[in-house]
Structure formats: C-alpha cells, structure tokens
Amino acid sequence: MNRINNLFHTKNERVLSIYFTAGYPKLEDTLGIMEAIEEAGADIIEIGIPYSDPIADGPTIQESNLIALENGMSMKMLFGQLKDMRSTIHIPVVLMGYLNPIIQFGVEEFCAKCKEVGVDGLILPDLPMQQFLDEYKEIFESHGLRNIFLISPQTSEKRIREIDLYSNGFIYMVSSHSITGAKSGITEEQISYFERVKAMDLKNPRLIGFGISDQETFQKASQYSHGAIIGSAFIKILGQTPENQKEAIVAYLKKVKN
C-alpha cells in the first residue's frame, strides 16, 4: 500500500506535514533534516525541488530556493541524496516542485527515480488538473505516485468534487487567498471556508497549508481537517539555526504538536 494511503488509514486527525527546500540551508542537509522531522513525530515530509521562478511561493521559500540553487542543488543531486533514504525514513515522502525542471529531467525518468528511491506523492502547483489528466495521470499512477491537488477559497464546489474524484492521497487546502508564508493566524472567513469544505464530505482527507506556523494555528486548522502543513515557518527555523539543526527541529515540532 502507498505510504500516504496507509498513513490516513491509521490516522485521521492532527496529521502534520513538514515542507523544506532541498539544499537549504546547506547542500548536504537533506537527509539529516528528514531524519529529524521523523524523529520529532511529524507524519509526512514534503521536499521542495528548488526552482528559479517559484510563482506560488512567498519571500521565505523563494529565498530558500535561491540559496539551494546557489549551493548547487539539482534534480540529479537530490535523487542521489535520497537514494538510500528508505533505510532510515519510514513516513511518507512527497516531492513538491514546479513543472519545468521535471520536464527537462524527463517526466518518465523522474517518475522512475521517484519510485526507485521510495517517493510516495507529488505536489506540482503549476500542473493544472486538465493537463494532469491529459498527459501525466497514467505515468504517475504506473509508478505508484499520488498526485496531490491544491484547492483555494475560490475553488468552486463543482471543481472541488472533480478534484476529489481524481485524487487518491490527500487534498491540499490552501488556507487563504495567498502565496506561501503570506499571512499568519486564522480568520473567521477562513474558518467558514474550512467548514464549507468539511461539510462536503469528500472521499479524500484534507490537509490545510499556507499560514500554519505554530501550535495554535496547527490546532485550529486540525479542528476542521485531517491536519496541516507547515512550510515557511519551518524554513525560518532552519535559516536561524545553522548549528544544532536537529535539536532545533525536534524542539520546534514538539512544540507545534503538543
């Protein structure tokens, strides 16, 4: 069974997913960060593939992408780093990235590498649903990769139903009209959107991301969904603690989960 499906089979609340950018803050940090995330008890690891033009990301993640590229991170290097990850990492691993580097690497080869190293799913913000169905669905599925779709407060009910139909992992609920890291705290308006989607009784679990940064926002988001995703706030922690990275990660995530 796919590790994402397996996770939600056994756990359907307070699922915590952590995003970081591969190659940030240091080129060789990838596996160490993953091990610390698992040790701290998070449930899913999202690894960002750095890209020169991340249009759905705010300043924090943009900066981490830029530094990772300057450090020399590449797709090839990332797969090299992840080669033996399954000897220490047991939780689901999702790659998040933009389409262009994947197309240049070769979609088929990319999927094969993902399968080989043990990646469970993909989040590709600039791959729209129709293109996914036309060109990518078959190849992702044949490599056991779950495609994770985003929805936002503007997504119509009809489209959410369609996305639910074509999803088989979880649905990534963007918490507000925003790019990553843009807003913090959760407003009444957002809660009514969370409730509206919750009431739709979708077949897929929902994780809420964008604007989740601490114990309070994680708890609140978890009340209306199966859990939440932290990205920018985690990147900030990594940026602030070049030393004792592992301890800092574990301390931060323990506090969030508390």
Binding site: M75, Q104, Q154, V174, H177
Partner: protein
C-alpha cells in the same frame, strides 16, 4: 466544402501547435477561467468595440502613419515603410493592449489593476489607462530596472500608480512578472492583471495579440492606398516577448506570400553568455504559465538574459512566436547590442526618427536579409527613443 485550417491559430486549449496552454497554480484557475470564458464575447460586443475604437482614435492617436522612408529606401534599394507606433500616446505600441484590457477589466467589474514592467513602457501605458478610467493601479518592476529606468518610474508615479520593486532573483522583468502573478494570487477577486506582452497563460497571448492586431489591420489598408496592394513582401519587427511583432504579423500569419521576420536581441553575441536570443538558445519549457521556448539550464532553471534594451531582456518568447519559429513560418534573426545602437543612430540621421533601442534591432536586420530590389518591406517602428536617451548617451558613439 472542406475548410483549410489556418496554420497559425490558437486552439481551444490555448495551444499554438506545441506551445501555449495555461500552466497556472490552482489559486489562479478561477481568474483565468473567468477571462477565458468572457473575453471573446466581451471584446466582440458592440459596446466594447465602440469604446475601444474611439479611445484608439482620440486618446492613442490612431491610425498611426505608415511612412514611406525615402532615404532609407534609397540606401537599401527597397521600398521601406515604417509603421509609426512610436507616435502612439505614451510613445510605443504598448498602449493598444492596455486600452483594450482596461475596458475589459471594467466590464468584468474589476476595481484594481496590477501589471509588470521591464523598461517601464508597459507600466506607463497601464498607469495611463488606469488614470483615464479612475482605477487603482500597482505596477511591479524589478529593483534593478527601477534604477535603470528612473524617468519611467516617475512617469508612473505622476500618473498616480504605485510602483513596487521586485526584489527577488535577477530583479528584472522576469521577476517583476513572478511578483505580479504572486500578487494576483493574493488578490484574486477584485483585481485584473494586465500582462504587457503575448506571454502568460491562455488566453493572454491571444488576447494581447488581438488588441495589437490593429497594427497589421492598418498596414493592410494603408499599403493598399499607397502601393495598390495590401500585402508587403516582408514584415519585420523586434521580439522580446513579442507583442509588437504579433500585432504587425497578425493579419499576415496565414498569407504565405508575406515573409515574416522576427528580430531578437543577441546582446553581446548569441554565444557570449550575455544574450536574449531565445529561439537560438532556448529549448521548450514552461515559464509564466505557458509552454514556450525558454533560455534555461540543463536542469530546467531559467537563465538570466542580457540585452542593452530592457524591452527585449526576457528569457522566453510568446508561444505564438515559438510556433512561428517551429513551423518555419517566420524567419528569426538576432542582432547584437552594438549593431542595434548604430542602427538607432543611423535611422535618426537618415529619417529624423530616434527609435527605441528595441526597434533599432529590427532596423539593423535590413543588413542581414535577402530581398529583391523594390521589394516592399514594412518595419514596425514599435517605440520612440526618448526613454533610451541615457543609454544612447552612455554608449556615446555618435
């Protein structure tokens, strides 16, 4: 009867052959859908057409002259016409598109406008129509470009627009476009994004080309009255993203007897590492929501272009141009900084017209093409050189 499908045409999914489409984050899906569903019916409506034509005539100053450049013609032994887009209000063709999009935005009930700009020409054209319509306007501009193009920054501010520096990446046009897209994600409901070139997700490339197609529409009837034919032998235009070229080519796309020549910026030389010659250096990829030819590393990271003209300093090209290149329908040339500057000075002295440095690339290309004596050549004079005075002065070779 079988209709022959025109070679150059956008399909219903927004593709020109292999290029185009709408590769956008889900957060922008409703905005792009709203545009796609409505722009054709709105722009075809009588009330839109009436307002658009009236503003193009009385506000922009259209039709722009199709000027027979007699001394240049004598020098090159051809009949050279200059389509004087430099005489448009605000100094370039850019305003044709912003007038169209601002009327569209109003009819869609939008309250705020955002735009990206490189050299500042599109930003000024956007700020201008926002002032005209009393709409709130924010223009994103690379921090580096803001320093390079100070007068245009101040023009936008005088017109009441807010100019926000894009501080990421190379701090130029590509990054300003990223920033405008991010801000559209942050403000999706009441805001319309006026893209300035034939780039971005479908329907932008086709929509912008249609607003600019007034250029070739006019060339046709103007040439008919001067030469007795609607069709020149050659149409030439410079290409960054490619909006002025799309406008000048539009009504000739499917007339094979008319040669289309697109002129890119070679910067310091195509293979110097400091170039913006996208068709020469690019490979298929995705940037700013469409699949097109793109300057990028093997790893799919977008590379920094270079051109002396900020308007050509873009690592991609509109998907329609990628298709024109791919099918061989248009010829693509690349002109170096130095040659463009010399051509700018030469045109100034031969015809009394100081062209934008972008346009000067197309002028120089006269030296690179083969043609018959007395061929009719139309060059789209996309903009005037006032904005480039600093660059001309620094270059100094006059």
């Amino acid at each position: 009867m079988n209709m022959v499908k025109p070679l150059i045409q956008v399909d219903e999914k927004g593709f020109y052959g292999k290029f185009g489409g709408a590769y956008i984050p889900e957060m922008l899906h409703p905005n792009i859908e709203e545009l796609r569903e409505n722009y054709e019916s709105i722009t075809a409506s009588q009330s839109f057409q009436k307002e658009f034509k009236s503003l193009l005539k009385d506000f922009v100053g259209r039709p722009t002259p199709l000027y027979f450049a007699s001394r240049l013609s004598e020098q090159y032994q051809a009949k050279i016409y200059l389509k004087r887009e430099d005489l448009c209000h605000t100094g370039a063709h850019k305003v044709n598109n912003t007038v169209g999009q601002i009327i569209l935005a109003k009819k869609l009930g939008k309250k705020r406008i955002i735009a990206e700009t490189g050299a500042g020409q599109h930003g000024v054209a956007t700020a201008t129509v926002c002032a005209l319509m009393g709409m709130d306007c924010t223009v994103y501009m690379g921090e580096l470009d803001m320093a390079r193009q100070k007068p245009n920054v101040e023009r936008m501010r005088i017109l009441g627009a807010k100019v926000v520096p894009a501080t990421s990446g190379s701090k130029t046009l590509k990054d300003a476009t990223n920033e405008a897209m991010r801000q559209w994600i942050n403000n999706p409901v009441d805001t319309h994004y006026i893209i300035g070139s034939v780039v971005g997700p479908h329907p932008y490339p086709e929509m912008v080309a249609r607003f600019q197609s007034v250029i070739s529409e006019e060339i046709k009837w103007q040439l008919k009255s001067k030469e007795g034919t609607e069709n020149p032998d050659i149409v030439m235009a410079c290409v960054g993203g490619g909006s002025n070229a799309a406008g000048a080519f539009y009504h000739y796309y499917n007339l094979d007897q008319v040669r289309l020549i697109a002129v890119e910026a070679a910067g310091l030389g195509i293979h110097s590492g400091k170039s913006a010659a996208t068709t020469a250096l690019g490979t298929p990829g995705i940037l700013h929501g469409s699949k097109t030819l793109l300057m990028q590393t093997e790893d799919g990271q977008v590379t920094e272009p270079h051109s002396i003209s900020a308007g050509l300093d873009y690592p991609g090209i509109g998907p329609v141009h990628a298709h024109l290149f791919d099918t061989g329908r248009a010829e693509f040339l690349a002109v170096e900084d130095e040659d463009a500057m010399k051509a700018g000075i030469a045109l100034s002295r031969t015809e009394g017209i100081i062209p934008a440095i972008e346009t000067a690339h197309a002028i120089h290309a006269l030296n690179m093409i083969e043609y018959k004596t007395d061929d009719i050549i139309v060059i789209n004079l996309s903009g005037r050189g006032d904005k480039d005075l600093d660059t001309y002065i620094k270059w100094g070779g006059y």
